[in-house]
Amino acid sequence: MKILVPIKRVADPDNANKVKVSGDGTQVTSEGLEWKMNPFDEWSLEAALRLTEDGAKKTRTGEVVLVTIGPKDAAQTVRTGLSMGAERGILVEANDQELDSNMVAQILKAIVDKEKPDLVVMGKQTVDGDSNVAGTVLAELLGWPLANYAMSLATDDDGKTLTVKRELDTGVSTIKVTGPAVITTSDRILKPESVKNGVTPADFKYPEAEGGRYASLKGIMAAKKKPIDEVTAASLGATPQKTLSYLKFELPAARSGQTTFVESVEELVQKLKSDAKVL
């Protein structure tokens, strides 16, 4: 099974207090930020790795290709994914500020046309834009089935058909998908028994984890030798058009930190009306 995993570098969400808006309010500035793989993408990479290995024997049985769209130094994020176990990477050179979800989906389509993966497994959203759009648009452009918000994946025929449990506000939806398909994942995909691939023994359990697997020392050393192809949208034959422009960014107002205790429900309602002005 060959899986394409799109990944994006984002400002480290653990240092969100360092995020600043430019003086004219038109963009979020990246100065002084530490980059990290978008956590949703890290989880989707973990799912893709589990689909393409024998988890018990720790042997690879398929191929995971990473793709990122960004400046040259975004290759470091790809290298991180390679050290976790992915086979190779693709860097599509672009300026972060000139992209939107639609353009990302168009570029990814060009990559899919070239790579012909069996599946695209990607995070349902990024923690910076929070758009939750690129996966859906990509499936539409490809004319492929879409299974978004996946919390578990099971296949026993190398990804040709999958049973996907989707995490929805109203409950869990279980669907059958015929590949090739686009799958977007939620954090529950990290549960010890969330991914079954017909190769890893059915009773095997991955360890409980808050994120994707750690890069092992051998993985880090091996990642040095794994290729990262550098391409451009133009070299892929893509001419993505931007359809979304951000007009203004502003940081949320600082909270007062005050706590008010009330004696009764009536007083609470009164305060919500008069002080908080939310009713």
Binding site: Q76, Y214, A215, L217, K218
Partner: protein
């Protein structure tokens, strides 16, 4: 010449930082402190499984033959997290010593066990009054003159002592050398033992830098949060100056420690001269790192005020770790004397 860590080395550091942030958070250190942690040495299994404990072992033994430079950042992160357990002794100083001297003896079987994380190592040089981490180490490497003994913990005559840092175990040793434990002796063994001492001192310095960085981060966070006279105490110039002095001490110590790691990794490039240079660099690293860590501990405590010394505040884990580890593998005074002997 380009003096900087490689992309691989920083990726290695970031990975270990990530592992420790998730699995060795202060609440884990607190559980070790109170004796309620489930694991004897927390996070050890994860570190070993991902190859970080056996980094310095040969590839034949399951390691990666990595150098002191590769290990420096890893050990610094171990300090930053106040990782309890014999990481310096197992990963940097003891493992290569055991592997080198035990080849062809029954003691060689321990090497693989340490690399896999199944066993840990302690180190006891003759100059030590206490054995650091000995009650946690499965195998103690004990130096007597020009001989190295590999002593299972139960046979080492350990008497546990209480350190000011309850998350670090120490013991006195009442050990009578036994031929069954002898690994090697003679001139070659002595050279290897001396190198292990240098590595232990370097590793201790790396941990000190990590501890100092963490204490400064804690103090800065507290200075931004704690308000007095209607504003955060960090807005006061006097507090800022204290913190700036602490940051300066760390900034001076770090390159000295990294230089020592490089000198030790390249100790054979010019024969005796480079080995002498490496020893001097290690002594300087131990001095600068220890003094920086002690200084930052004092500043961080001042910034926190009395709460910094309470058991409820995380700061004391790091501060007391500094005070506990500092005397091992040569105090700053011992290393000053060594530099003096070299230059006079």
């Amino acid at each position: 010449m380009h003096f900087a860590f490689s992309e691989d080395q920083t990726l290695l550091r970031d990975t270990v930082r990530d592992v420790l942030a998730k699995e060795c958070a202060p609440e884990v250190v607190r559980r070790v402190w109170t004796g309620s942690n489930e694991e004897r040495v927390p996070v050890w299994g994860t570190l070993a499984e991902n190859g970080f404990v056996g980094m310095a072992a040969s590839e034949a033994a399951g390691g990666m033959s990595m150098s002191e430079v590769d290990l420096a950042l890893v050990l610094e992160e171990a300090g930053y997290a106040a990782l309890p357990g014999p990481i310096v002794e197992s990963a940097l100083a003891g493992l290569p010593l055991l592997e080198q001297l035990s080849a062809g003896t029954p003691h060689a079987a321990w090497v693989e066990r340490v690399v896999s994380g199944e066993a840990t190592l302690g180190l006891y040089f003759e100059r030590q009054s206490l054995a650091l981490h000995a009650p946690l180490a499965d195998l103690l490497l004990v130096v007597r003159g020009d001989a190295l003994y590999a002593v299972p913990r139960a046979e080492a005559g350990l008497v546990a002592q209480t350190a000011v840092d309850r998350a670090t175990s120490v013991a006195t040793l009442d050990y009578k050398p036994s031929p069954a434990h002898l690994v090697a002796r003679g001139a070659a063994a002595q050279v290897a033992i001396q190198l292990a001492y240098e590595r232990a001192a370097l590793g201790n310095a790396c941990v000190m830098v990590g501890l100092a960085r963490r204490m400064l981060d804690l103090a800065v966070a507290y200075a931004k949060d704690r308000e007095q006279f209607g504003k955060p105490i960090g807005a006061q110039q006097a507090v800022q100056h204290h913190l700036a002095n602490a940051a300066g001490r760390i900034a001076f110590a770090q390159p000295v420690v990294y230089r020592a790691a490089w000198a030790l990794a390249n100790r054979d490039r010019a024969g005796g001269e480079s080995r002498r240079e490496a020893e001097l660099a290690v002594s300087m690293a131990k001095i600068y790192a220890e003094e920086a860590a002690r200084f930052v501990a004092k500043v961080a405590l001042q910034v926190h005020g009395a709460i910094g010394y309470t058991i409820e505040c995380d700061l004391h884990f790091f501060m007391k770790r500094v005070w506990t580890l500092a005397p091992f593998y040569g105090t700053a005074a011992v290393h000053r004397a060594r530099i003096g002997a070299h230059i006079l």
